[in-house]
Assembly symmetry: C2
Homo-oligomer: 479 residues x 2
């Protein structure tokens, strides 16, 4: 972590995303405006997710945003989980409504209601539908992208003949999330199962991918739920099987949201501002003329040529020919996290060279113009891989496996504060009792992230009570 980040990570984060023009606050509590550079990161995520959803047989649809109050009552865990955060429409077109309508926090209820009409026979299954939508959770504490009253997300909702198929779907989608987050956003994640207290309201089992930010806190980057027949029973979603018997379907739901935009900033950003993985950077390469370029039209000609050549390769390129000084421009585009900068001045041109600067490397390098396009393509690819490796090394360094009791955890936290290091996460045993999880949280603010599928070690005793552990769990502070 850099100095600014260490002093006050949240302040660094908010300053950076505002200066880099990703978002703006609005007068509506907890609702932000996604500016083009912020929104485009989301568009690249959408494209990649859509590609993978469609490859695996899913189709997009759109469901109403307003959900009748009575729908929430049908699944009791669900209403308990979401009721405290709902905004309500109570009037429309000058009249009071007979029944309040919630702004959707998620769509299991509306979709459950509709699926009960759409699904009649085993021939109608599976139903594999995804929706891109705005959702609302009226949170007390908000943080741009990470936790806002209105946010954007995708929510998949599928229905299956039996548990086995539904569980396969749940895992398939978690895997797709893991791949997209690691490959596109260069964010390494731990995949695993949530503990019962951290489950989605109404799920039988919830699985997540968990990402570590540079301050050591966790972001739950995606979740996939096996809902069993809970919503099928609540909304009467039945099908006639091949033996002509009525059966409840087994459903799943899974989601990722615009908090991924925040995560990519908090995982890769540095003192100079954003560092964007090339695959999601709105601008991948910026061209900047330097020296007395206005007196030398050959420079702009060459830059125009380079611009066209890069664009022809499908690279997202910009040419900054504004009146600002080169130094100002360098700072500006570093702040915005543009992966590669190309500088061209009179002397470079004479030598048929240009300077390139890769955002996360310190040195500039002279490159022959004749080979610069291929070189840039290479740099973008290697930077993408390097960012993932760096983030993985950082995450692994701060994933502690030597903390086995509450006392040790407290000592670890004291040490971190004294040494000015981040506490990171710890891998610890857990006996399975809610009370133990609760106590760790109360004492240290460390919550269970997930029970990883592939833990780096197995823990024998519960971190809180010392009894035999049932699960080996990641604990950490979370956004």
């Amino acid at each position: 972590m850099t100095n600014q980040q260490q002093n006050d990570f949240t302040k660094w984060y908010i300053d950076t995303i505002q200066k880099a023009d990703l978002m703006d606050y609005t007068p509506v509590r907890g609702c932000i405006a996604f500016k083009p550079d912020g929104f485009e990161i989301w568009e690249h995520i959408q494209d990649e997710m859509n590609r993978r959803f469609k490859e695996t047989g899913h189709r997009n649809a759109y469901f109403p945003m307003l959900i009748p109050e009575s729908f929430f009552q049908k699944e009791k865990d669900h209403i308990e989980g979401f009721a405290p955060e709902l905004p309500w429409v109570t009037e429309a077109a000058g009249e009071k409504l007979e029944e309040r309508l919630a702004l959707r926090p998620t769509s299991e209820t509306m979709i459950g209601h509709l699926y009960s009409n759409w699904i009649k026979s085993y021939r109608d299954l599976p139903v594999l539908i995804n929706q891109w939508a705005n959702v609302f959770r009226w949170e007390k504490k908000t943080l741009p992208f990470i936790r806002t009253s209105e946010f954007l997300w995708q929510e998949g909702h599928t229905a299956h003949v039996d548990e086995e198929e539904a569980r396969q779907e749940t895992m398939q989608m978690l895997n797709i999330y893991k791949e997209v987050v690691e490959e596109l956003l260069a964010i390494p994640v731990y995949d695993g199962q949530k503990t019962p207290s951290e489950r989605f309201a109404g799920a039988v089992d919830t699985y997540s991918i968990e990402a570590m930010m540079k301050d050591g806190k966790a972001v739950q980057a995606g979740t996939s739920h096996y809902l069993g027949t809970k919503f099928a029973e609540a909304f009467d979603i039945k099908y006639l099987n091949k033996e002509n018997k009525h059966q409840h379907v087994h459903t799943t739901s899974w989601g990722t949201s615009t908090r991924l935009i925040g995560s990519v900033i908090m995982v890769h950003g540095d003192e100079q501002g954003l560092v964007l993985p090339p695959r999601v950077a709105p601008t991948q390469v910026v061209l900047i003329p330097v020296g007395p370029w206005k007196k030398n039209p050959a420079i702009m000609e060459k830059l125009d040529e380079l611009y066209a050549a890069l664009k022809a390769k499908g690279i997202r390129v910009r040419l900054d020919d504004s009146d600002q000084s080169p130094g100002y421009k360098f700072n500006e585009w570093e702040l915005k996290g543009v992966p590669v900068r190309i500088e061209l001045g009179p002397r470079d041109l004479e030598n048929n060279q240009a300077l390139i600067k890769v955002r996360d490397l310190t040195e500039k390098e002279s490159v022959e113009i004749a080979v610069i396009v291929e070189r840039i393509e290479e740099e973008l690819t290697t930077m993408q891989t390097r960012l993932l490796e760096k983030a993985r090394a950082f995450r692994d360094e701060n994933s502690h496996t030597n903390v086995d009791s509450l006392e040790q955890l407290k000592q670890h936290l004291t040490d971190s504060t004294e040494n000015g290091t981040i506490p990171g996460w710890i891998l610890a045993g857990w006996c399975g009792e809610d009370a133990c999880e609760e106590n760790v949280k109360n004492e240290t603010k460390f919550t269970t992230r997930n029970i990883p599928f592939n833990p780096p070690a197995e823990k024998a005793t519960c971190i809180n009570c010392g009894k035999d552990s049932k699960h080996t769990v990641w604990f950490g502070r979370a956004y």
Copy 2:
């Protein structure tokens, strides 16, 4: 028009979109669910619009859905236009809100507020932003896709240094709409200016593209507004010009919505169901085995081969190997409007042929399997063009230029009813008085569609008062 369409066009429309699985009603008044086959038409429209918006320098962003009541008060025409249709959030997270929040009917106010912070200098201009979003207008009478309480749309919002540039933008976007609607949806449109009474609430000038449905009624398929400095004044959006003086920006807004899905059905559909232009059809080609195909594995092998070959060409293809009879499948896929069907049975295979049936042509044709892929590509292209030509011929036939007085219009309507023809639209003169427009509407339900840029004739006298006309106008009944 076909018999069913003639008897009750609305019933035909609703039956067809439900049977073809494009949408479903929901328990929330006027809100529909967009099922995958309906939503995918929208996705193809989005892709094409996005491509053209980005080509012309626009970028996507996202703004809050909830708009404080006080924002609407700032532009008086705007609040008058939209207030009667707004739904309101009055409570959230268990508390009554201090100020009511409207579900956006359109975003000029929120965006105006934000642009006033974002725009400081001429260097910040133009601002060229588009948003894809859900919007709400609590309408009394609804019709799926065409008029719903919640719908999806895109709304562009741009800010410019002066009137000239803003007007150029307004026209540029109207032209893009015209091209997309004609080329992608095969719907011919008249482009022109709205009369003052039909202007967007808060606009200086509104322009539209107008499409004729098969029942002769009009759908306003897209609008583009020059807003002058009205919103800039209401929200104090100023920039420092090169002479260091503060100036109000000139703004535009422009939108198209999911009513385009409804339009494509109402323009091309027939007695058998949907007829989808290939470029927006979710399935472009369906492969159906016929005869005793289950006993003859060579048939499915050949179909699998064809499937792969078509898919490799980027064609959206489906293979229907379900247990239903061929006849059932033919009906099913015709109903869904799939452009081309390929049938393959044992005898066809022996002859190295397959039957193809193009959705809007009556005859099936035998085609050699060796050349079938290229042939299908050709058919898709020619069908796309043919649908536009057919729709244009129909539209022109029903665009009457020989109706010059209210008496003649009434006679025309009486004749239509007696002859069982549709009234269509009429081109007539208008003196420019609201009262004349109003009277034509009250007497005949014909409203002004637009003042076309390229009228097929110029009309000298007002259809209502007989005085000199100021404009030549399309009149018609509208959705």
